[in-house]
C-alpha cells in the first residue's frame, strides 16, 4: 500500500501521528486539561483563527466537543450542517468545500458518513482538515481521547506499555475501533478484539489486533481496560447477530462479567450507549467506569489537536509558565 502523504497540516488518521505524535498530543492535552480546570477556562491561543465544523452526518456530541475546544482557545467557529436535502441539490462535495474555504477558514472539522471523505477534502483545500469521523474508517480524536483517558486514570506519563485492553463488539463497522486499536497498539497496549466473525472486518488478521476471539469470558479476567463498542440496532436487519438478547448474553457487560473483571480495570464506551445491551448493569455501579471522563477529556484532547495543527508553538509548553507561553506563540 502506498502510504498517504505525510502532512502535519491535517489529522486524518492515527497513522498521521505515529507513537511520538500521539504522546505529543497527550502531553499537550494535559496542559489543556489544566486550562479547563480554571474558573475562566479560556486562553487566546488561537485568536484570529477560524475553525469550521462541516458535518455531513449528525453528531451533536462530537460537534459540541470540537466547538467548545475551539472556543476555549479563542478561535472563531462556524458550523456548516449539511442536511441530506442540500446534498441532494447536486452540489458536489468539492464545490461545498471550496465555497466554504473561500470564506477564509483555517481548519475544517469534518464528519462524513463516507470513509475517505476527509482525505479527499484535504486535497481540495489549503486549510487543515481534522477528521471527526468518516464512515467505518477513522475517528482519530476519539482514539486520542481514549488514550488520554486511560493515561490520566492510571496516572501515567508517556505511552501505555504493557497494558492489556479488550475491545468488544461491532469492530467491522466501527471507525472508533479502527482508530482506537491503532492508537493503543502504537502506545504499547496489547489489544484483544472480542466479536463474532460477522462483526469483524473480512481480513482481521495479526496486523489488526494482537488477539482475535469470540470468547469474552476467557479474556475478561485478565484486562486492564474493557472497551465496549456500540451495537447499532439497524445491524439486526443484516443477519449479523440473531438478536440483541443473544448479543448481550455473549458480549455484554453483565453483572457476572462485571464481577469477573479485575477490580482496577477501566470500563470505556464511545457513546451513545445502548443501556441493557453493551452494558447490562448500571454504569454508576461500575467503579472502573471512565465513560464520563471520556466525554470530558474530549474537549482537552481536541484543544490539543487544534493547537497542534493551528498554533505556531509546536513544542510542549513550559509547565511553569503554563499556557501563557503557548498563548503568545499561538495568537500571532
Amino acid at each position: 500500500m502506498t502510504p498517504r502523504r505525510a502532512t502535519s497540516r491535517s489529522l486524518l488518521t492515527i497513522d498521521d501521528l505515529g507513537a511520538d505524535g500521539i504522546v505529543r498530543i497527550l502531553d499537550l492535552a494535559d496542559h489543556m486539561a489544566e486550562v479547563n480546570r480554571r474558573p475562566n477556562p479560556k486562553v487566546p491561543a488561537l485568536r484570529g483563527k477560524t475553525v469550521c465544523s462541516v458535518f455531513f452526518e449528525d453528531s451533536t456530541r462530537t460537534r459540541l466537543s470540537f466547538e467548545t475546544a475551539a472556543k476555549r482557545l479563542s478561535a472563531d467557529t462556524m458550523t456548516f450542517a449539511v442536511s441530506q436535502s442540500s446534498l441532494n441539490k447536486g452540489e458536489s462535495l468539492r464545490d461545498t468545500i471550496e465555497t466554504i474555504a473561500a470564506m477564509g477558514v483555517d481548519a475544517f472539522v469534518v464528519r462524513h458518513r463516507s470513509s475517505g471523505a476527509p482525505q479527499l477534502i484535504d486535497q481540495w483545500t489549503q486549510a487543515s482538515v481534522i477528521n471527526a469521523g468518516d464512515g467505518w474508517h477513522a475517528h482519530p480524536t476519539q482514539a486520542l481521547l481514549d488514550a488520554f483517558t486511560v493515561r490520566s486514570a492510571l496516572g501515567r506519563t508517556g505511552g501505555l506499555d504493557g497494558l492489556r485492553m479488550a475491545m468488544v463488539g461491532d469492530v467491522k463497522h466501527s471507525r472508533v475501533a479502527r482508530s482506537t486499536i491503532a492508537a493503543m497498539r502504537l502506545l504499547g497496549v496489547h489489544v484483544t478484539v472480542v466479536a463474532p466473525r460477522t462483526l469483524l472486518p473480512p481480513d482481521a488478521g495479526d496486523s489488526f489486533a494482537d488477539v482475535v476471539t469470540d470468547r469474552l469470558d476467557e479474556v475478561i479476567g485478565d484486562v486492564d481496560v474493557l472497551y465496549l463498542l456500540r451495537m447499532q440496532q439497524e445491524r439486526m436487519n443484516e443477519a449479523l447477530v440473531p438478536s440483541l438478547r443473544e448479543y448481550t448474553s455473549r458480549f455484554g457487560l453483565t453483572a457476572a462479567r462485571a464481577a469477573a473483571l479485575p477490580s482496577q480495570a477501566l470500563i470505556m464506551h464511545p457513546g451513545p450507549m445502548n443501556r441493557g445491551v453493551e452494558i447490562a448493569v448500571d454504569p454508576g455501579e461500575l467503579p472502573g467506569s471512565v465513560i464520563t471522563q471520556q466525554v470530558t477529556n474530549g474537549i482537552a484532547v481536541r484543544m490539543a489537536v487544534l493547537f497542534d495543527l493551528l498554533g505556531s508553538g509546536r513544542a510542549a509548553p513550559d509547565v511553569d509558565t503554563g499556557l501563557d507561553i503557548i498563548t503568545e506563540g499561538g495568537s500571532q
Binding site: 479527499l120 467505518w136 473480512p202
Partner: protein, 427 residues
C-alpha cells in the same frame, strides 16, 4: 486513387509476414511482397509498424442516449478509433435502455453518422435491465443485435436466466453475463480483503462473482446454449472457466486491461477513479487473469470503457459511480502488462472478440485480397504516458496517469478510410 500501406509487418489470423497492402474503396485490393505506388496513391509508410485486422471491443459504454455529458457515440467512437478499434459493442445501460428496436436502431445510426468505427448495439436481456421480463430477442436479433446482456446487473433470478438461455437457442445471438450476486455486494465499493478492512470500506467479495459464474456454467451445461462472461476479475473465476472449457462447454470470456494491471491497493487513495465494477482485485487475481489470457481460457481483452463526468468522480467512494476509461489505453496497457506473444495479444483484441460479437464476416479478417479494409496500424514499441486532457473521450476518468504504456495505434483504417492518421483522428 487508392491507399497503399508499405513496409509493414502484417499479423493476422493466418500468421505473420512482411508485405505491402493496397486498399481501394472499402476493400483490400492487393497484398504482395512489394507494391509500386500508382499516381495519386495515398501512401502510408508503415516501416517498423504492425498492420493487423482492426480491434474489436466487446464492452464499451458510450452513454448515448441519456448521459451525453459523459460521452456521446461520436466522442466514444473517436476514442475507439484512436485506440485502434474498428468495431465496438455498445452496452445497453443507456437511458432509455437498449431493450427495443427503436433504441438499438438509434445507437447504430448514431454510430454510422459518426463514421469512425462500427458501433454494434447490444440488447438487454431483460426489459429495463430490471431482471423481470425478457426483451424481444427475436425482434432485436432481426434488427442486428448479436450480444444480449444486462451488464451492470447480472440476471439474478436463476429461473429467468435458464429461460433466457433456452429461448435464445437458435436465434443466432449470444447472452453475456455480468456475474455478480447482488445480495453479496450491497453497498460494496472495493474488493473484499485486507485492504478494505484497513480502509473501512464495504467489500465486494470474490465469491459474489464466482457463485453466479458457477451457476451460469451449470445452466450452459444443462441447456447446451452458449454464453459469454464479461470482465472476469478473480483467480477462481479463471479456474471455473478453464474447467468448463475443458469439459467442452460452449462458453467464452473476456477480461479488462484494468483487471490485469491494477490492484485494490489503488483504493488507499480513496480516489473514485479506481472504483470499478467488478472491483480491482489482488495481485494473485491479476496473475491468474494474465495466465488465463495467455493460455486462451480468457478469449478476449475488452475495455469496459465507462466514461463519467468529472464531478461525479469527485465524490466519496460510496457515492461515485463505478467505471473507468479504457478505449485509448487498451493496447498500451496490454502490451505493457502481458507477457504474451504479440500475435496472441492481437488475437485477443481482434479476431477472437470479432467472432464472439458475431462480426467475423467483416472484422478480425485475414489481410488478403478481397477482404474488408478494417485495419489497425500500430507501433508495438512506443512508450507513452496518457495525458487526460488529450483524450478524445468526453470524460477524463483514466486510471493510468503516470503509468508507462507500451504500444499505440498510429493509423486506423475503417471501411477503407483512414479515420486515424499519425496518431490523430481525421475528423
Amino acid at each position: 486513387m487508392s491507399l497503399l500501406i508499405t513496409g509493414a509487418r502484417v499479423i493476422d489470423p493466418t500468421g505473420e509476414r512482411r508485405v505491402d497492402v493496397r486498399v481501394a474503396d472499402t476493400t483490400i485490393e492487393d497484398v504482395a511482397d512489394e507494391l509500386t505506388p500508382a499516381n495519386g496513391d495515398d501512401v502510408i509508410d508503415a516501416t517498423g509498424l504492425v498492420v493487423s485486422p482492426g480491434f474489436v471491443d466487446l464492452h464499451v459504454h458510450l452513454r448515448e442516449p441519456g448521459r451525453e455529458e459523459a460521452e456521446t457515440i461520436e466522442t466514444g467512437s473517436r476514442a475507439a478509433a484512436l485506440g485502434g478499434f474498428t468495431a465496438v459493442v455498445a452496452m445497453p445501460n443507456t437511458d432509455p435502455t437498449q431493450d427495443s428496436v427503436e433504441v438499438v436502431d438509434f445507437v447504430r445510426r448514431q454510430g454510422e453518422r459518426a463514421g469512425l468505427c462500427e458501433v454494434l448495439p447490444s440488447g438487454s436481456i431483460t426489459v429495463g435491465r430490471r431482471g423481470e421480463h425478457l426483451t424481444p430477442f427475436a425482434e432485436l436479433a432481426a434488427a442486428g443485435v448479436k450480444i444480449f446482456t444486462d451488464d451492470g446487473n447480472g440476471v439474478q433470478d436463476p429461473l429467468l436466466m435458464r429461460r433466457a438461455l433456452e429461448y435464445a437457442d437458435g436465434l443466432g445471438i449470444t447472452l453475456a453475463q455480468h456475474c455478480e450476486v447482488k445480495r453479496l455486494t450491497t453497498g460494496a465499493v472495493m474488493h473484499e480483503g485486507a485492504c478494505c478492512s484497513r480502509l473501512g470500506l464495504p467489500g465486494w467479495p470474490s465469491i459474489a462473482e464466482e457463485l453466479m459464474l458457477h451457476r451460469d456454467i451449470e445452466l450452459v451445461r444443462l441447456t447446451g446454449v452458449g454464453m459469454h462472461f464479461l470482465h472476469l476479475s478473480t483467480a477462481k473465476s479463471v479456474e471455473l472457466v478453464r474447467a468448463a472449457k475443458a469439459d467442452g462447454l460452449p462458453i467464452t470470456a473476456e477480461a479488462t486491461p484494468h483487471h490485469f494491471s491494477l490492484t485494490d491497493e489503488r483504493l488507499a487513495t480513496y480516489d473514485a477513479l479506481y472504483k470499478v465494477n467488478p472491483p480491482l482485485r489482488t495481485s494473485d487475481d491479476l496473475a491468474a487473469i494474465r495466465a488465463g489470457l495467455a493460455d486462451g481460457t480468457i478469449d478476449a481483452i475488452a475495455t469496459d470503457h465507462a466514461p463519467h463526468a468529472p464531478e461525479t468522480k469527485e465524490q466519496p467512494l460510496d457515492q461515485a459511480p463505478p467505471g473507468m476509461l479504457g478505449l485509448e489505453t487498451a493496447l498500451g496497457v496490454s502490451l505493457a502488462s502481458l507477457d504474451m506473444d504479440l500475435a496472441d495479444v492481437i488475437a485477443a483484441l481482434s479476431w477472437k472478440p470479432a467472432a464472439i460479437a458475431g462480426v467475423a464476416d467483416r472484422h478480425g479478417r485475414p489481410i488478403a485480397s478481397g477482404e474488408p479494409a478494417n485495419l489497425t496500424i500500430f507501433d508495438p514499441a512506443e512508450e507513452w504516458e496518457v495525458v487526460p486532457a488529450r483524450l478524445a473521450s468526453k470524460s477524463r476518468n483514466t486510471p493510468y496517469v503516470g503509468m508507462s504504456l507500451r504500444g499505440r495505434a498510429v493509423h486506423t483504417i475503417y471501411n477503407g478510410t483512414p479515420v486515424v492518421r499519425d496518431g490523430s483522428a481525421v475528423h
